[in-house]
């Protein structure tokens, strides 16, 4: 039987029989579906990446107004495009940890205040120039400083000085930060010749692919960079086709016009997966759908109101009905198991009695006004309606006001006291907390101001003893869980799909969806 299975594996890996057929035949000889899936993945990986061919990707989240400047990357399409031609100093490894990319190695002073990145030698940009530490310095300067318009400014702000010494790039921080390498994986911080100061939109970098044709909002074509410094990047040509409409994107995958798509709508993901030649991939991530209240505005300044709302949230129902199971329950902190140094805490369950108790204790009687729109997160108005019902069982009146999609992020989010929103998460806890929960954070969208929390956050940055740091983060999580303005019912999975014409998918890749945007580069044409 083992011979038979091996025979099947090889055939499936070579694409001579379909995945569905392999699973069926394996099941016929008594292998469970899960085991068969693993076997197949191993066999395909064992067959090794094939070079050449064309991979076509159907992309959601891209518009014709998009810039090619990595400093202005703000959506999935832009990030996919910049990943092809540009590289950061360091990058997240698929299953945790940091991989040096354009930095050959990095180290810090004992107090985590001075960081040295040794720049890799012998790497050339696609315009033929050699990449040097000066290019790195110029890039980092373009993303920081008073003049910048970069989306990475929030990360760069804590840097006191930057300099080049020989082939090393040296950062000195205002305060110690043990997580600095994680910050350097930010998708804006791609090294460009002379920092991109000459032409930020030139799309010239050290990446595995070279941009051949760019029509923002329509189509991007890349060809393999023949001089790429390492053995990454398999397909000879990669085509990104922008298909923002969900139904059209799925249809393009089903009819074989594209080999892979991002953002499969959870509502139809089960149906899509049933097609014989298509696999839907889900990866748990740090992205979460949230209900956020301003803690400095009545009635949310009353912690009993917050607790009433938190106990009145039916989290499992949200995961089942809004995410269709493609996600996991949240616990009123922005952190989940996808973060390093995560400590689980007791799950807050739906409890109408406790909700009613806190509501009565708060003395509030007026209905709570919640603002929502479809682009705060998919199906947010439905989630608001579910919340309204689960609160009603506790006798808490909730009024839902639907706002237009257009302008939601500028007029409602971070302006109105209670609304639905979305956070895509960050690679480390420090960054997530510094971005949105520190008293002085720009995007403190819950107006959460807690001295103890701030002290812990700063102390944790300088703490190099992992056990102590872990405890500090656990304490901070507990403070937010009990006193924060964040109601976090669910973490959404990234749901992507590919056909069996291509292989090499890595399950549960850290970072963002579609293998942290590396799927087109790391996958290969199998059939």
């Amino acid at each position: 039987m083992k011979d038979y299975l091996d025979y099947l594996k090889v055939n499936a890996a070579m694409g001579r029989i379909s995945r569905r057929e392999f699973m069926g035949r394996a099941a016929a000889v008594g292998v469970t579906a899960a085991a068969a899936n693993t076997m197949l993945a191993d066999a395909v990986r064992a067959a090794g990446p094939q070079k050449g061919g064309t991979i076509k990707v159907g992309v959601n989240g891209s518009g014709s107004a998009d810039s090619l400047d990595p400093a202005l990357s703000a959506n999935q399409g832009q990030t996919l495009v910049t990943r092809m031609w540009g590289e950061p100093l360091v990058e997240l490894l698929p299953h945790g940890g940091i991989e040096p990319v354009l930095a050959e190695s990095y180290s810090s002073s004992p107090d985590a205040k001075v960081w040295t990145f040794k720049i890799r030698s012998g790497v050339t940009f696609s315009n033929g120039k050699t990449m040097t530490a000066d290019d790195v310095l110029a890039t980092m300067e373009r993303h920081s400083g008073d003049e910048t318009k970069s989306g990475a400014l929030g990360i760069m702000r804590g840097i006191a000085s930057m300099k080049v010494e020989g082939d090393s790039f040296i950062l000195e921080l205002e305060q110690p930060n043990a997580d600095l390498p994680y910050l350097m994986t930010d998708y804006h911080l791609l090294i460009q010749p002379n920092g991109g100061n000459d032409d930020p939109t030139a799309a010239i970098g050290t990446g595995p692919y070279v941009l051949k044709s760019a029509e923002p909002g329509v189509r991007f074509v890349f060809e393999k960079n023949a001089n790429y410094w390492r053995d990454d990047g398999n397909a000879g040509t990669i085509e990104l086709i922008v298909i923002n409409d969900d139904t059209a994107r799925v249809a393009a995958l089903q009819s074989g016009q594209v080999d892979m798509i991002n953002r499969v709508p959870p509502r139809t993901a089960g149906l899509v997966d049933r097609a014989p030649n298509i696999t839907v991939h889900k990866a748990s991530g740090a992205g979460h759908y949230v209900f956020i209240a301003h803690r400095d505005t009545a009635p949310f300044d009353n912690n009993d109101v917050m607790l009433a709302l938190k106990w009145g949230m039916n989290r499992q129902e949200m995961v089942d009905k809004i995410l269709f199971g493609y996600g996991s329950v949240g616990n009123d902190t922005p952190i989940n198991a996808s973060y390093p140094l995560f400590t689980p805490m007791e799950q807050r369950e739906y409890d109408p009695d406790k909700a009613a108790f806190h509501w009565k204790k708060s003395g509030a009687t007026d209905p709570i006004l919640l603002r929502t729109s479809d682009n705060s997160f998919p199906s947010a108005p439905d989630a608001a309606a579910l919340f309204q019902q689960s609160l009603a069982k506790a006798g808490i009146p909730l009024e839902v006001k639907r706002e237009p999609n257009d302008g939601y992020w500028s007029e409602v989010w971070n302006k109105q006291p209670f609304c639905t929103s979305y956070w895509s998460g960050r690679p480390v806890q420090d960054q997530m907390y510094s971005t949105a929960y520190l008293s002085t954070a720009d995007w403190n969208d819950t107006r959460f101001k807690n001295e103890k929390f701030d002290q812990l956050l700063v102390a944790a940055r300088a703490e190099l003893d992992e056990a102590k740091r872990k405890q500090m983060y656990a304490d901070m999580g507990m403070i937010l869980h009990n006193e924060g303005g964040l109601i976090c019912p669910m973490f959404n999975d990234f749901v992507d799909a590919s056909t069996d014409r291509i292989a090499g998918w890595i399950d549960n890749h850290k970072g963002f969806g579609i293998m942290n945007y590396y799927a087109p580069i790391k996958m290969w044409v199998a059939a």
């Binding site: 929030g154 922008v242 298909i243």
Partner: protein
Amino acid sequence: MGPALKLVAQRLALGILLLFLVSILIFVGTLILPGDVAQSILGQSATPEALANLRAELGLNDPPLTRYFDWLGGVLTGDLGTALTNGKDIAEALGSRLSNTLFLAFWAAIISVPLAIFLGLLAVRYRERWPDKLISAVTLSTISIPEFLIGYVLMYFVGVKLGWAPTVSTIYDGMSLGQKLNSIALPVAVLTLVVLAHMMRMTRAAILNVMQSAYIETAELKGLTMFKIIWRHAFPNSIAPVVNVVMLNLAYLVVGVVVVEVVFTYPGMGQYLVDHVSKRDLPVVQACGLVFAAVYIGLNMLADIISILSNPRLRHPK
């Protein structure tokens, strides 16, 4: 031909005035929308400093009047400027989008206009009998179903199930004409189904109206065949209303097909405009608005001129 020329001149002058007013309306409308281009570009990752820097770079701190007249000055000298969002030259981007839109509209019109008129004639010839009723029923059903739904239905059955036509209609330079036509087969089919009924019904109604006249009775008494009466005597006298409807539908094919473009991811003007409206990219919105308005005004003018030329009484006024 004197009066026709005078009319054209009048209409042209009026059209230019209209375009000017349209540009003011679009400018004010975009200003009223919440948020600005800097905020839209940076999105959720905007910091106050980055916003301020971007605003200064894009010149958003100038007073609106200055910005409007800067833009107007550019347009009058033939310079549409560059997009605020991605710095691309608007004339170039717009040119390729416009030619895509016209390409799609052209092929949809080539199929739908003759088909609609032919079906209209057929319906008159067999009026109140089964062919008439069948034609009306089918075309009225297709115009009543929302176009995106027809799109999805065709996409699923023709594209995914039968595999006859691609579901993604992205076209780009370097494709041959055959490939392009194959690519736009489904959107052309959808657009044809959507515009057919309007033109067909108008043709039918206009000809039936003429058929009541005494000279048609004379023609019948002369012993002409029914189809010849319709084609030679009734149709020429109903050209004016038919041309009007045809032009309205042509205008729709150019300016109103954004939903079809989105469903089939066709890189036309509609999608381009919507993307830039949501980013508050004023110069692009202005340029698109002007082109759309010009198409509408131009086609309507053409309709008027054709109706006048087709009517000897208007052609040779006493």
